[in-house]
Structure formats: structure tokens, C-alpha cells
């Protein structure tokens, strides 16, 4: 896909996020929007997947370790054709396959149940190890929040992944700088993030703008070409990206827009998509 096509797709993914959380009157738009480009890039460019055969054995895997941003992942999956875009409006409602956090048994295209922070990365590491044990060539991607890396299990998993030379593993940290209680450096600073992953023997790729497709393209290429050690892509992003009143606002971590805010957001996305 060209960057222009990717941008258009990302804009559609954003619309799906707003549709979902607005219909649900709940959910996590902020971190879904900061990661929209990475969801789009992974599912439209990077990963070997087949929406018609979501369980195909040799597919690349994706684990959304920051599971609360499921609206972003769901919207990308819907755009990619794993299920109808219309389903996004059923987010978080009874009987919907779109649970509040990813559920592997319910949703086509979801590779792991996640949402309890710090756990998804371990599952991703297990998948990467599994590929190594049976000489399979699929790759495993996992997306973490920058607040999430306060969880100790993230570092247990990282130590293990590097110790076992899992170069088929790509950890992505969405460094949007905000968590529920405020700025991450005020709550419990995980900075400097790249140095921490380097110290854990990861190959680190720093992305200055994780909402930019050229930079994501270069980063994932570098990750794929890295042998002998896992890669961590630490990407600076804007929480709430694409919706003027949500950008860099901690209050939009886990809140749905009301009808008026929804209308403004959709209007902005309508214009952005032209």
C-alpha cells in the first residue's frame, strides 16, 4: 500500500474507533487512536495474515498486550475484512463478539485474550518460542502501553525473550506519555524506555513519530532484519491522535464521546479522509 492508501485506511480505522466507543458509551479511545497507524500498518502491510482464514497455521501473530485499546484493533480487523465494520457498533454489548478486552474465543483475527496488563507480552514470547521450537518462520508482534511497562511481568518476559534469542519477536511500546492517573513520568516514570530494553539485550528502534507510516515502515523492516535478538520498537505517539479535543488529553484514556462530541469527531475525520 502507498502511504496515501495507508493514511486513508487509518482514517477509516479511527472512524470505527469513535463509532464503537460512542455506541458502547464506554471504552478506551485515547490509546486506540495513538496506535491507529501501527494497527493499520501491521494488518495492511507487515503481517502475513488471511482474513478468510484467520487461524491459518503459518500466520504471523499479534498480541495486544495493552488490551484496553481493543477498539483500535477491532476497527483495523474489521477494515481488513475479518468481520463486518458494522459489528463495531456492538462493542461491549451483551452477546457481541467484541468484548471490552480482546477474547480469542469470540473474535475472528484475535490471537490471544488479553487486557490484564503485563500478561500479553508473555503470551507473545511463548508463541515466538513455539515457532523456534518447531522451526516455523512466523513472526510475533505485541503492542504494549508505556504505562503498562510499569508491570514487572513485562521485564520477566523481556529478560526471557532476549535470553532465548527470540529474533522472531517484535515488541512495540506505544509511548503516548499518558496513563489513567496522569503523565507517566509523574505517576511512576518508566523513562528512559529505550535504555531499559537495551539493557535487557533487545535491539531497539526508536521511532520519533509513531503516527507516521514512513517511520513505521523503516522500523518494522529493521526489526525483520534483526537476527539473534528480539526487537523493541519504542514509538512516540500522540494519545487521542486525530481528534482535536482528545489529543494529549489524559481524560480521554477511557471515556466515550457524547453525541455532540461524537458529531464533532466524525466531522473532523470526514474532512481528514477527503
Amino acid at each position: 500500500m502507498t502511504n496515501q492508501e495507508l493514511k486513508k485506511t487509518a482514517n477509516e480505522v479511527r472512524k470505527g474507533i469513535i463509532e464503537g466507543v460512542h455506541a458502547a458509551k464506554a471504552g478506551h479511545p485515547g490509546g486506540s487512536l495513538s496506535a491507529t497507524e501501527v494497527f493499520t500498518y501491521l494488518y495492511f502491510e507487515e503481517m502475513n495474515i488471511d482474513p478468510k482464514n484467520p487461524k491459518k497455521a503459518d500466520r504471523d501473530r499479534f498480541v495486544l498486550s495493552k488490551g484496553h485499546t481493543a477498539p483500535g484493533l477491532y476497527s483495523a480487523l474489521a477494515q481488513r475484512g475479518f468481520f463486518p465494520v458494522e459489528d463495531l457498533k456492538s462493542l461491549r454489548s451483551i452477546g457481541s463478539h467484541l468484548q471490552g478486552h480482546p477474547c480469542v474465543q469470540h473474535t475472528p483475527g484475535i490471537d490471544a485474550s488479553s487486557g490484564s496488563l503485563g500478561q500479553g507480552i508473555s503470551v507473545a514470547v511463548g508463541m515466538a518460542l513455539s515457532a523456534k521450537l518447531s522451526n516455523e518462520s512466523y513472526r510475533v508482534y505485541t503492542l504494549l502501553g508505556d504505562g503498562e511497562i510499569q508491570e514487572g511481568q513485562v521485564w520477566e518476559a523481556s529478560m526471557f525473550a532476549a535470553a532465548k534469542n527470540l529474533d522472531n519477536l517484535c515488541v512495540i511500546v506505544d509511548n503516548n506519555g499518558l496513563q489513567i492517573d496522569g503523565r507517566i513520568e509523574d505517576v511512576n516514570s518508566p523513562y528512559p524506555i529505550p535504555d531499559k530494553f537495551r539493557a535487557f539485550n533487545f535491539h531497539v528502534v526508536e521511532v520519533a513519530d509513531g503516527n507516521d507510516f514512513d517511520q513505521l515502515r523503516a522500523a518494522f523492516k529493521e526489526a525483520r532484519e534483526t537476527k539473534g535478538q528480539p526487537t523493541a520498537i519504542i514509538m512516540k505517539t500522540v494519545k487521542g491522535k486525530g481528534i482535536s479535543f482528545m489529543e494529549n488529553q489524559v481524560g480521554w484514556h477511557g471515556k466515550a464521546p457524547n453525541d455532540e462530541e461524537y458529531a464533532i469527531a466524525m466531522e473532523e475525520l470526514g474532512k481528514a479522509g477527503v
Partner: protein, 312 residues
């Protein structure tokens, strides 16, 4: 008694893994720096490529097991019960239980018979914790024969299984030709009419011994081995309770939430019966030789006999 063959079920676990590993390539074993103690070291020797030591990081180990299971492997992940069920509870619940993954947890050093390590390592809460996870199968084998059968049955079923093993060498009581292991099916080891003793794990043998002492007093106890605590054999429990009218549960676990809790739940709804729960009485353990501890906490045959006499 001196010539009775004794084997710790953790040893049985290690041996069973080797036997299964030979047959099944997709079986992998995880440990958290306790391979010598959990006896997965036996497997490591035979199949080093399929033994993964995760280091001292049980939460991560359980997540890795989930990842392995979701990509077609059958991981047995091992640590002491305290850490497998305790420390990693939420990982077992969310990474394994919720997606109903085919992960087998081999938890050794359960109960106070851990001995000298003391209360920090004596897990009397694991059955209670694991029982609350939907879809979890829980097996607490009574001896070497049953432990090996349980490991094989766990491998052959699809879904998460919590296997509970002990550190202490215990008598082999099931090495008879007609022994058959079936997940979820209790075993009547001795028929009786005056009361039902329902035991699990190493307490099965102690209960059989206690029943012998009761017989000397003219009390005819039925003894049932419940190796599978979840799903529990409710039919067998109700059948026996309605025959004898009195039920005693015996386990090396807290009286809260374990076998006693499970049996009480069944009987209170289906066949209200006078009950006594023998186990660790809502207290922590302590250091000491395992056999002495079982005696002190009245979980040996003499202690069980004494408590049953008081109950009757």
C-alpha cells in the same frame, strides 16, 4: 510397614513426563528454576530441547505456556504449588483459564508435607484458588500409580489442568491389576455403612489406615478416593452419603475451599448430611519433618481416627 514401597508423587510426575515425551513431540516442559525439586529435571535429562527453564519468574512462565499452547504445543509448567497457584494465580486465570488453553500445571510441594521449608512454602490454598477458575480440571493423585495415570490423562484431554503433587514419599496403594484412572470419577476403596470418609492425595492412604482402626472399634467406614476435585464426582458422593448418613473429608489443604468445601457444596444442595472437614484448620504451617507435621496437624491416620471418633 517397613517394606511398603514409597514414592513421592513429584517423582512420579517427572517419570511420567519422560514416558509421554517419548511418544508425543508436542509435549514441552517449563520450569522456574526448580527442576531438581519438581523433578522435571528427569525430563530435562531425556529431552533437553523440550525443557525450558524460565528462571525465577512464574508469572511469565504461565504466560509463555499460554503462548505455547495457543500454537499447538502441550506445555506442562511446573513450580511449587505456592508459586504456580499462588503467585501466578491471575496469570493462570486470565492467560490460561479465560481462553481455556491446553496448559497443564504440574504443581509440586503442595500442603504442609513440604516439611522443613515452613509456612512460606507450604501451600494449603491452591485447590481453593484453582477451583474458582471456570473450566479448570484439578487432580490430586494419591500415589505413584495414580499420579502417572493422571499426567497421561491430563495430556490426553484438551483444556487446562492443575495437577497437585507432593514432596513426601508416600506408600504405593494403587498397584493392582484392575486399577483404572478416569478424570472426574471417584474410587470406592473400601465399602462401609456407618460413615463415608472422602479423602484426596496422600490422605487417601492415611484414611484407609484410620478406617482400619475404626473397624477395630466396630465402626464400618466407607473410604472414597476423590483424585479429581474438579469436576467432582457428585453422584458418587451423594450415593455414599445417602447410604451412610455421615461424611468426613480428609485433605492436606485448608478446610476452606478445598475438597471439604467442594463436598459440602455438593451435599448441602443435593443431600444435606452431617459433615466433618479434616484438613489444615485455617492456619499457616511451620517448619518440621513432614511426618511430624502431619502428626501435629492431626492429618495422619491417628489424628484422623481421633477426630472421627469425636465427630461420631
Amino acid at each position: 510397614m517397613a517394606d511398603v514401597k514409597k514414592i513421592a508423587t513429584r517423582e512420579s510426575y517427572g517419570n511420567a513426563l519422560v514416558a509421554l515425551g517419548e511418544k508425543y513431540d508436542n509435549l514441552v516442559v517449563l520450569d522456574a528454576d526448580l527442576a531438581e525439586a519438581t523433578k522435571t529435571g528427569i525430563f530435562k535429562k531425556a529431552y533437553p530441547d523440550r525443557h525450558i527453564d524460565c528462571g525465577i519468574a512464574e508469572s511469565n512462565m504461565v504466560g509463555i505456556a499460554a503462548g505455547l499452547a495457543s500454537t499447538g504445543k502441550v506445555p506442562f509448567c511446573s513450580s511449587f504449588a505456592m508459586f504456580a497457584a499462588g503467585r501466578a494465580f491471575e496469570q493462570v486465570r486470565n492467560s490460561v483459564g479465560y481462553p481455556h488453553l491446553n496448559v497443564k500445571i504440574g504443581a509440586t510441594h503442595a500442603g504442609i508435607s513440604v516439611g522443613e521449608d515452613g509456612a512460606s512454602h507450604q501451600c494449603n490454598e491452591d485447590i481453593a484458588l484453582m477451583r474458582t477458575i471456570p473450566g479448570m480440571t484439578i487432580i490430586n493423585p494419591s500415589d505413584d500409580v495414580e499420579a502417572k495415570a493422571a499426567v497421561e490423562a491430563a495430556y490426553k484431554m484438551d483444556g487446562p489442568v492443575y495437577l497437585r503433587f507432593g514432596r513426601l514419599a508416600v506408600p504405593v496403594i494403587n498397584d493392582n491389576a484392575d486399577y483404572k484412572f478416569e478424570i472426574g470419577k471417584g474410587v470406592v476403596l473400601k465399602e462401609g455403612k456407618d460413615l463415608t470418609i472422602i479423602a484426596t492425595g496422600l490422605e487417601v492412604n492415611e484414611s484407609l489406615e484410620a478406617a482400619k482402626k475404626l473397624a477395630e472399634d466396630g465402626i464400618d467406614a466407607e473410604v472414597i478416593n476423590i483424585h479429581t476435585i474438579k469436576p467432582i464426582d457428585a453422584d458418587l458422593i451423594v450415593k455414599s452419603a445417602s447410604k451412610t448418613g455421615k461424611v468426613v473429608t480428609v485433605e492436606e489443604h485448608s478446610v476452606i475451599g478445598g475438597l471439604g468445601g467442594a463436598v459440602a457444596e455438593v451435599l448441602s444442595e443435593k443431600c444435606p448430611t452431617k459433615m466433618l472437614r479434616i484438613g489444615v484448620k485455617d492456619t499457616f504451617g511451620e517448619s518440621g519433618p513432614a511426618v511430624k507435621l502431619l502428626e501435629k496437624y492431626e492429618l495422619d491416620a491417628a489424628g484422623i481416627y481421633k477426630q472421627i471418633k469425636a465427630f461420631l
